[in-house]
Every structure is written in structure tokens, then in C-alpha cells.
Amino acid sequence: MKLRDLSDLAVRNLREAILRNSLTTVGVAVGVASLVAMVSLGVGLQLLASQRLTKSGLFDAVFVTSRRDFRGPGGAAPRRNAGQQSGQAAQSENAKPLDEDARAALAKLPDVNEVYPQVRFLTEVHFGGNTYTTNVLGLPQSSRGSGAFDGMTGAYFSSPMVNEAILQVEFAKDLSPNPKELVGKDMVLRYGERKAASAEEIANEKDIDKQMDEMLTGGVTIVPREKKLRIAGIIESDPSAGVGGFGGGRVFLPLGTAEQLHPAQPSDVQELVRGSGKQSYTALTVKVKSPKDVLKVEAAIKKMGFTAFSLLDAAQGLRLVFRVFDIFLALFGSLALAVASLGIINTLVMAILERRREIGVFKALGATDSDVKRLFFAEAGAMGLFGGVLGVALGWFIGQALNWGTTIYLRRQELPGVNISSVPWWLALLAILFSVLVSLAAGLYPAARAAQLNPVEALRYE
């Protein structure tokens, strides 16, 4: 029998016992829905975690430090005593500094989007006649996509070099009991500017006391400065939290603006002690185009003579955890489908009893055993297909309900809503395919039994 005729007959047979077949199909649908809802939860949570981690910038970033500064996990501190002549100490002394040249070289590496330093300094903020001491942190332009600014009061920096500041809400509360009113107002930042004089400038210095000071400090001086900034926005979370000691900022400036201020930083003290007089960075963050490029870039940076590390290994471990979680959820969800498959077997076995005579007529008219088997298979497959489609829709609705409920709960906690359930196209397709396969497997026994019926006995059956 041709496939189209077979399908016609199967659908017609299903329609005839509409109530029973519908109930069986609904059973399959509930099984598939449970599977889809479970797996969509796993996929959604994984997606959420992945998005959050990607937005955090930790998985597309390589953190670079100079070998002479780096104290890696379990690593010994570089020893700087004059008497130490070990190879390691010598290597540490000769290691490349993380300065402007190094920053430019890193930026030229393939697949690198952006290289930025950590600009963090202590400051005094003057606002409304009061003075507040706090930390300032420069934020690169890429931080905009980190998710920390979603739902912020006000707006992100209007340009990378603008004289604007974003305040962390706790600090904003120190400035005003109603932080929202601060947006658009001006505040004054007091900080120490690092000023480095060249040897020629020192030599030409007319004031002998100043000249002596500059000579003693290697030409590095710290000058108090003030900068007027407009408050552009207020954020709830900390966009700078993460690896490399970026946390703790309460006032955020565009990185370009922060760098232009030349603020004195802890690394300056280190350079002052070393007496190089040349500015260097404690650490640089290298943003790569995609997380898949991280290992490649990391290797290239190490080759350049710097210490580099990323969190990709941790991410891979996390992926494994989610895979196991998905498998567990899928197995749990499949239980309902397994129960539903028993319903299919029951329905089809009942159908064989009811349609015994019909099977006999089919065979008398020339149907082969295979035709009869295929007809029952088609009916089981059709129930699986309809149940699968209905189940995916039902599973999607359950997922949406979960998202809706979670969002309502989070909003009540004054947190932004999230989607914890996601039904990607491949999950829908796999669920339908799985449903059809399980249904066909359930149809195996009834179909074989129907095909083996003796036509004479079947025709005699009342």
C-alpha cells in the first residue's frame, strides 16, 4: 500500500475512535510536555548562566600581568633582595614591564578587540558642601553590554571621553537620601595626579628645593587636582566585580576620561620604589572577539613574555555540570513519556481486538502482513506525531508560565526579570522525533500481533 493511502487510513481509523485515541494522544502530549518543560528549564538556566557569564566579560577576556609582579595561585612572591641571584629572581628582574608599549603590542594581536588597564584610584568627592572619600574606577566601553546597566537610573556614558560619572547606588545614597534626583547634577572629584618630569625638566628646574625633590623621587610627583563631572546615572549592581581585583568601585568614569586624569595608582608607588620613573600597569585586560579565541590569544600573550590567564577552563567545567543536569532532567521528563507509551500499547491492543474482523477483511482483499503492520505503525506514529506537536506546545506554555512566575517573583524582590526556561528549535524537533520513535516502539508489539492474525480466524470473529 502506498504511503499516502496508508496515512489516510491511519488517520481515518484514529478519527473513528476519537475519544480513546484523543485521550491516548493527550497522554503522549503530557509526556512530551513534561520532557520539554524539564529540558527547557535546563537549557534556560544554562542559557541564563552563560549569558550572565558572557556579559560579565570573564569568558572573553584574558588577564595579563607582568611576570615580575604576578603572584599566581601558590606562586612565590618575587624576591627582590640584592643578595638573591637565583635564576628565577634574575628572570623576574628581566621580565617585560606591562607599559604603554606592551599595551600597544597586545592590541595588535589577532582576534583582540580591546586592551584596557585597570584604572582605580582613591578620591574625594565634593557634593552639596560635603566631602566623601571613595574609590573611582574607569570602565571600558565594552562594559556597557555587561548587563550591569540594565534597568539603571539615568543613562550610560554619552561618549568614551565625556566628563560624566555613574554612581553605585549605595554611594549615591550617601550623597542624597533620594538618589534618583542626583542624575544630571554636577559633583567635583579631588584626586592626586601623577606627574613625571623628564631628566631635562629636572635639570632646568630653577627652584633648588623642587629640583632636589624631583631628583629624589625619580621625577615622579603627585599633584592635587579637581575635576567637575556630571552624574549620568545610578546603578544597582557592580559592573566591575570579577577577577583581577576590579571590584570595589563606587564611582565609575569612562576609561578614557579616567586615563586622561593620570591619577596616582598603587603601581606608581611600585615604580617609584624601583626608580624607573616610567608608568606601567599592574594588569591589563585583553578582550577577545569570541570565547573560542581565548586560548589562542592566551598562548600568544604568554609567548610575548607576560603572565596570562582566563576563566575558560572553569566555563568548560560548568558546561559539563549543565550537560549532566540536562540529562537528569531529560530522564526525569521521559518517565511521563514512558508511561504514555503504555497507553499507546493499550489503545492499539484494544484496537486489534475490536478490528479483528477488519484485519481479516484486509487480508482477504490482498493486504500483506507488512501492510497490516505498517497500518498499525502509522496509527502509533500519528499518535506520536500529534502528541509530540501538542506536547511541545504544552511544554512551551509551561516554560512561559515558569518564566512569567519567576519574573513576577523577582520584580517583587525589586530584581530584573529573567527567562529560566527556553525551548530552542532543536529541542522542539527532537521532542517530536522522540515522541514518534517512542510511539513506534510502543506500536511494535500490537502491529506484529495484528500482522500475524490468521485471516480465516479473523473473519470468523464476531
Binding site: F362, A364, L365, D371, V456, L459
Partner: protein
């Protein structure tokens, strides 16, 4: 007829290199060919057919060593009391059941040697069947019932409608094609079943008590139809019945069975 002579004749007829045939005289050759042609006219040939059922520890021979030949175009009535084995014999001739022993040759092929797929093809292409209880599928309309053998034979959809219409008009049910079996009278249902049996243009029509569930008027009408089909289509009909008067009126030949054996075989006038 001796089997060896028949094999010789087959070889001769199909030009096989059989030394024995080549060496024979012209008269003998003619005799051999005529013998073979007469044998070919025997559309169905049952040779020592038995069918045994085992019920618990008892073996029941429903058909016991029956040999029977049916000529092409013949209308044969199988008569006998209940349990005489006539329906069992019909089932075996129709390829629905297999003999426990013996051979059934139809158009030269031994049904006992066919596998289930070949036997299904035989039922689909060579045979049409009519049952006592009509056996129309209640969930289908009349035309869908009649179309069913065409679906099984994988006849193209375009061709099906014309053949269904022809078959239904032949039995006078052209106007009732969209009705379900439950909306038809017994006589109409049997005529519908007859249309379904004819739609694949079979060589042999097997009818198992076709009038058993009908009143005398409708029974006679069905047999008239069968007779007409036999005449117009040159079809061979084998009918099981227990109504001797009807058999005597419409069949060409009457075979009576009792306890699984042929007790009489006679040509009717």
C-alpha cells in the same frame, strides 16, 4: 492424467529440449498438446487436499483428501451440510488458508508453495471474495469500501474513481456510493461486497454463502448477478451454499461434500 505425461507435454508446449517429446510420432505429439491444453483449461486443480485442525488432543480433518478440478469460466457450487468442510475448502482455494497436505494449483502455481507475500498477491490480483456477512467496513462509505482493494493493489488514484464507478454501476449501486454500510439494506450490502470483489477484475470469484444472510428475493437477485457476471466477464465462480435449489438453478456444476470428502460431483444442465 499421469504426471509424467503432463510434464512432458508442458516441456513440448513451451519448446523445451525434451528428448522424449522429440522422438515421438506426430500423432502422439498432437495427443500430448491436446492433453496439455485440456489441462490448462483447468483453472483450479486441487490434488489430495487435506486440512486438519488440532483441538486439544483431538485431530479433526475438516477436509479429507479432496481432489477437484475447476474449469475456467465454470460456475461451481459447493454444497454440504454444516461442518462438511466446504468453507474450509473454499478458504484454501482462495488462498486464505493452507492445506495440511496436498497441492492446489491455480493457473499453474501451487498455492501451498507460495510464501505469505505471494499468497497475498494471489488474493489481490487473481481472486475476488464475497462473504455471507458482507464484511463491508462500517467506518467507510460504500465507494471507500469498493476502493480498498485498489488501494492495496497500489492502483493510481486517477484510475480508481472510474473503476469504482464501473463496479458499483454493474451491481446497480451507482447512486448509493456515498452511503455507509449501515445505511444500506442486506441485499445492497451484498451487492456492494460483490462490487468490491469485482473492482480488481479477478479471474476467480469465491463466494462463501453469499445468500446466507439474505431473504429469498435478494438471494435470487445476487445469484442472478453472479450468473450475469460469469457470462459477461467470463469469470470462474466457486460458491459455497447450502441452498440446493438455488445452486441447481444458477450453477453449471455441483460438488457435494460430507465429512470433508467429495461425495458427488455432477454437471448441471
Amino acid at each position: 492424467m499421469p504426471r509424467a505425461l503432463l510434464d512432458e507435454a508442458r516441456g513440448f508446449y513451451f519448446g523445451a529440449e525434451i528428448q522424449a517429446v522429440k522422438d515421438t510420432s506426430l500423432l502422439k505429439r498432437i495427443t500430448i498438446v491436446l492433453t496439455f491444453m485440456a489441462d490448462q483449461a483447468k483453472l483450479i486443480q486441487a490434488e489430495n487436499v487435506s486440512r486438519q485442525y488440532v483441538l486439544g488432543e483431538t485431530a479433526i480433518r475438516a477436509v479429507n483428501d479432496v481432489s477437484l478440478a475447476v474449469q475456467a469460466g465454470e460456475f461451481l457450487a459447493l454444497l454440504g451440510s454444516s461442518g462438511s468442510g466446504k468453507s474450509t475448502l473454499l478458504s484454501m482455494l482462495a488462498g486464505l488458508d493452507r492445506p495440511t497436505s496436498g497441492a492446489i494449483h491455480v493457473s499453474g502455481q501451487n498455492l501451498a508453495e507460495l510464501d505469505s507475500v505471494e499468497l497475498a498477491r494471489y488474493r489481490r490480483e487473481t481472486v475476488g471474495m464475497v462473504f455471507q456477512s458482507f464484511n463491508l467496513l462500517p467506518r467507510m462509505t460504500l465507494e471507500e469500501n469498493v476502493e480498498l482493494p485498489l488501494r492495496l493493489a497500489e492502483v493510481e488514484r486517477d484510475e480508481r474513481n472510474g473503476r469504482v464507478t464501473d463496479a458499483l454501476e454493474r451491481v446497480g449501486l451507482g447512486a448509493r456510493r456515498r452511503h455507509r454500510p449501515s445505511e444500506l439494506s442486506g441485499g445492497e450490502q451484498q451487492r456492494g461486497a460483490l462490487a468490491r470483489a469485482l473492482v480488481n477484475r479477478p479471474t476467480i470469484l469465491f463466494a462463501d454463502e453469499p445468500t446466507g444472510n439474505l431473504d429469498s428475493v435478494n438471494g435470487e437477485h445476487i445469484l442472478k448477478l453472479l450468473k450475469e457476471i460469469q457470462g459477461s466477464m467470463g469469470m470462474t465462480i466457486v460458491m459455497v451454499t447450502h441452498e440446493r435449489p438455488l445452486a441447481e438453478r444458477f450453477a453449471n456444476r455441483m460438488v457435494v461434500l460430507s465429512d470433508g470428502r467429495v461425495v458427488s460431483d455432477g454437471v448441471l444442465a
